[in-house]
Amino acid sequence: MSEALALEADFRVSVGARSSPFEVTAKLSLDRGVLAVFGPSGSGKSLTLQVIAGLLRPQSGRIRVGGEPLSDSEAKLQVPPHRRRVGYVPQHHALFPFCSVWRNVAFGLPRGERRPDHPVVAGLLHELGLEHLTHAMPERLSGGERQRVALARALAVRPRLLLLDEPFNSIDLAGRRELWGVLRATLARHQTPAVFVTHDPLEAAALAERVVLFERGRSTRSGGPELLEPALELVRGPPQSSGIDTHGS
Amino acid sequence: MVAAAASLNQVLPALVEQYRARADAPRVIVSYGPSGGLRQQVEGGAPIDAVLFAHAAPVDQLIGRGLARADSRAVVATNQLVLVGPRGGPPLTWQTLTRLPEGELLAVGDPGAVPAGHYARQVLQRLGSWEALQGRMIFGGDVSATLAYVRRGEVAAAAVYQTDVRGLEDVVVLDVARGEWAPRVEVVMAVTGQGPGGEGAARKFLLFLASPEARPTWRRFGFGDPSHP
């Protein structure tokens, strides 16, 4: 990794009807590691990720990933999502239903590399414990397995930054804890910085080194995991942060 | 209700008017169309009292099926098949039709349904050019539609009746079908008796059409006498 920050974003985006638009103002940055975008649902977290991915065009502001400008309203710059090399795992995993597991993982690779035994594909399937499902179709997978495939698919194209939108929403707590470990280890191994959206303080605390808080369409504060303390107290009662692995590296 | 060939749509109104001028004449309503199509309507049970076609075959078919009275069948007038073209178009004759300029078409009535087309096919077959003209002939749904192709300048020539082009400025007669290959074009009528007017009234109207009283009107519109064309 160079000196450049993994992500610098400062923008305003507005969606919905002109009469009653929903406006989001976001400011976030990440030098390396994992950033949690934390806040209640409807606070503009998912929209923020979509803007960084290039799926939505901000009304104004700037976005840089790894030092490269991807969006700049003043310079009229808007790099389309397919040229950003920014990975994105949408809320509902969105596996291609007509593709087997390995085809999903290999989807973003050049035509010649789309093989189940290609090192990138086979490596990711192995890492994420999906080898026995190589030829399975998505409809037969459990929620956790689908998330692993979605993660492998996003990482296969070597993104400079990975965006995850409520990645483990539909998975039970036990499964979620297991996947937290998998995600942490995988991101570390690939040295891929990541931004993930969550409304679960336990999840944020388990995964993130940096935190940005969202409230009513606005990023309010950013800092270390200590920002999560008030929310964590609500979840587990008195402050006794023994069981929580805050994973400072 | 009288069903009449499209080629009679000028002379019949005059004849109906003349007929109605007689004090005791009942009302006559005329429906025009291609003879083949009108015959279909009669067979389908349409409320038609009498038919007046430009060709004997459909009338005889109705008689053969018991749908028209054989004793009422009569030839009331004759006509002539002509080749017409747009004013200023290429000069063509029945014999030179095979040398129709490239890209040009000849309009004829659909031979199965339109008597003028039936006669045209007869002429072209007798002249040996029917086969050669395949793909160069556009079929009109009735004789008016056939003539309309010429009037809109879409075709170089059309086979229609002499009486159809009376008084038309934009159409010229290129050639008249004369000689032993020329068809005998007859206007044939018969009572069907399945309409609301009643058989008696229908017979009365048809008798008038064949009468010496109606003859000058037929002639005025270009139709020939039944006996000698």
Partner: protein
Amino acid sequence: MNDPVLFPIGLSLQVATLALAAVVVPGVALAWLQARRRYPGWSLVEGLILLPMVLPPSVIGYFLVVGLGRNGALGRLLEDTLGLRLIFTPAAAVLASCVVALPMLVKTLQPALAQVPRELEAAGRTLGLGPLALFFRVTLPVAWRGLVAALVLAFARALGEFGATLMFAGNIPGRTNTMPLEIFSAYQAGDDGRALLYVVTLTVASLAVALLASVLSGYRERR
């Protein structure tokens, strides 16, 4: 295909195939545009697409003759510049079929494209797929049943075109007499045997198409 009885069958198939080939690219593009984009004039375009479906075929035929006939503005232009005359040619039959096949294709495909989950496309885009690759590798594979249904219905509509074809291509035996025209001509002539052959052919073809389309759209709903 020189047999005068078989000719209309072969001609109809050719005309419908060419019409389908001509409308498939603009039709799919239009369906995508209408399903996925909102822009000023969207409703107007939507209305124009529907127009041939609600207009009487004779009105379509009239527009074609007036516009592209020998004395039509566009027809004259084509003839003067390119030496091209459309009216009363097999190409005119193809064009008449295109006019009715296009809305059928667009209107059948549009809802299928609208149902493709946005998240799937978002995933595809962030995996590096440009607009065309995205359409062929994500959108179409999801909506393929809708596409096949749209194609067969458009083909059937093209195959059955009568009114506008009669007016714009005319009934020229051996050249433009498609099955529907032949049925009408045979019926007028009282030649029920000849009509029946084409009636049966068209009925069987249309029935097969309708069944296929309903099976495909049934699948789509079940998903």
